[in-house]
Amino acid sequence: MKQVLKLRNLKVIFPTNYGIIRAVESVDLDIHERECVALVGESGCGKSVTSQSVMRLIDSPPAITRVDTLEFDGRDIKDYTPKQMQEIRGKEMGMIFQDALTSLNPVMTCGKQIDEMYIRHQGLSKEEAREHTVKALELVGLPEPRKRANSFPHELSGGMRQRVLLAMAFACLPKLLIADEPTTALDVTIQAQVLSMLRNMQRGCGTALLLVTHDLSVVSAIADTVYVMYAGKIVEKAPVRELFATPHHPYTVGLMSAVPRLSDTERVFTQIPGTVPHPTQKPSGCYFHPRCQYATAECKKEMPPLKTIDSNREVRCHHPLSIRGVSHA
């Protein structure tokens, strides 16, 4: 399969008055054609920064970004000028954000905001663009698309707004779509609709998808490959089925057991003890060791490398777990 995105050794730091925040530390990411890759982790783990770095949307200053390789569709876009990036953004790489209300310009009609995509990237006239916009809105299942195109964002419901963003993102059939928490702000029934819409659009358009989320049910529903991030580092990478069947990293296990379940008689809430380390004061050794019940002296001293296991999985742990319990692979 053709590789759409190849990211090697991405580092993003934010110098602040309270110290240096290492938001992203040496992240590698591979996305292939038509693949749906999920980037999972708690708030503040660096997943949004990673995804926005792919589009080079992180403002610098204040951020300082270093990357060894940033290959998109076979081209090295690491040193592209802002103008060159503008040509790629929207046209070949799209993005959907979490909160559709704040992500849409409040003083422009939804239609106009989609029209801009066709006008900018396909050189269409206003009237031609509007025809395309209405078709795109119809495709994402917005009722009365021609009328809705003249609505302002605040006049639509949350689900409708997310559909508008979808129509906008898919307008130019991008090769890669980055969806940053696309369903977090929606209620559950709308979540499912938007998610299946996203999946269908992605398959229909042959787009690769980078899904940023903290919601494991979303991951299990549509992802092919999963990257788990913790405190700016990738701690585990695996195909989705294998990850859910045999999570290797204690943090992954913690994330999965944190999903509330209704067992036979009682409601079970399991939580990972402690909190995410403050970004300016990360612990020594493995970042997860203060919260890890399996931590050893080695974990406190040394940051484990990302080791390849079973040829298609990677885990950053001195003592990865398996179905048999604690093993010392």
Binding site: Q52, M55, L57, P61, P82, M85, Q86, E87, I88, R89, G90, K91, G94, M95, F97, D99, T102, S103, L104, N105, P106, V107, M108, E116, M117, R120, H121, F152, H154, L165, M168
Partner: protein, 327 residues
């Protein structure tokens, strides 16, 4: 929207009554007798009493107020004591000059202030940003009359083309001649006179607009929808102007409206420095001569204009921001 405007107009009535009572009391309770001032030291008590009776000043204050107010409602603001000309005529003669000065000042302030604000905001933290903010800080801090005097002595004196004071034809008249007769000379002459006073009046407003545009735009540029616009691959200019500026202009409109309203009545100092024949100077002279009808009429006129400008500002909100609806 229509109902909203009607409601606002009705709300203006008690406001204007209150203002007129206040001005009436201030004028009549302050020391200084207009008739004494008119007739001079040698006037006999008999003369003074007779003239007081002519103008109705011998009546109790409430009677005087109601007599004045009932005429004012009909549009008659009385006759000037000094000039024996109807106040209406005096005000309308000069309203054009005041409006012209205010409008030209606002145009200068907007056309420089907003670009400076954008310029600084898009170069945040750079030398250019600091420079333009220092310049506008100086602009805000400079009193208009001082700037007026400086402009007179350092610009008008050196540049022959610029007159020191006064006013010739109106700009409107100049535009009319330009459009109908294709002659620019009347317009140029009018602009020649209005340029310096409008600059003196407009600089502080320009500085306020520049600072406000900068801070407002900086706030807007951090919003999610700006990131969306960038992610769409729009050109930087389009992102800033089309998506940023329109959202950033709301507080700017408020300030422009308030400043414009106060300019209509408060350009007194600038009008005095440049001998600009506006309403402000008319009222100031009337105060020193205790010409009550002019003061009352002038202030009432300014209050009406001010509240109308405020109404226009509120209506323009709805045009800029579709989330604001009036009903």
């Amino acid at each position: 929207m229509f109902r909203y405007i009607i409601r606002r107009l009705i709300q203006m009535i008690p406001l204007l009554i209150g203002i007129s009572i206040l001005v009436f009391l201030l004028v009549h309770l302050s020391p200084g007798d207009p008739i004494r001032m008119l007739l001079g030291e040698e006037a006999t008590g008999e003369d003074v009493a007779r003239l007081n009776a002519v103008y109705g000043f011998d009546q109790p204050l409430p009677t005087q107020y109601f007599r004045w107010a009932t005429r004012a409602i009909k549009g008659d603001l009385g006759v000037s004591i000094r000039q024996t000309i109807p106040v209406n005529t005096l005000i309308f003669e000069r309203l054009g000059a005041t409006l012209e000065l205010a409008i030209v000042s606002v145009l200068i302030a907007i056309s420089l202030g907003i670009p400076i604000g954008i310029f600084a905001a898009t170069r945040r933290g750079s030398l250019w940003d600091y420079l333009s903010m220092i310049v506008s800080l100086i602009g805000v801090s400079m009193p208009g009359f001082w700037l007026g005097l400086m402009l007179l002595s350092y610009v008008a004196l050196k540049v022959d083309w610029l007159p020191m004071f006064g006013r010739d034809a109106s700009v409107l008249n100049g535009l009319w001649v330009l459009v109908t007769q294709f002659r620019a000379d009347v317009l140029l002459n009018a602009l020649r006179y209005v340029l310096l006073p409008a600059t003196a009046l407009g600089v502080s407003m320009m500085a306020i607009i520049a600072r406000l545009t900068r801070s407002s735009l900086l706030e807007v540029l951090g919003k999610d929808y700006i990131r969306t616009a960038q992610a769409k691959g729009l050109k930087h200019r389009v992102v800033v102007i089309k998506h940023g500026l329109r959202n950033a202009l709301l507080p700017v409109i408020t300030i422009v409206g308030i400043q414009f309203g106060s300019m209509l009545g408060g350009a007194v100092v600038t009008e005095t420095v440049f001998a600009w024949p506006g309403v402000g100077r008319l009222v100031v002279n009337a105060i020193s001569q205790r010409d009550f009808p002019i003061v009352q009429g002038g202030v009432l006129m300014m209050a009406i204009i001010f509240t109308f400008v405020n109404l226009l500002v509120d209506i323009s909100y709805a045009l800029v921001n579709p989330r604001i609806r009036y009903d």
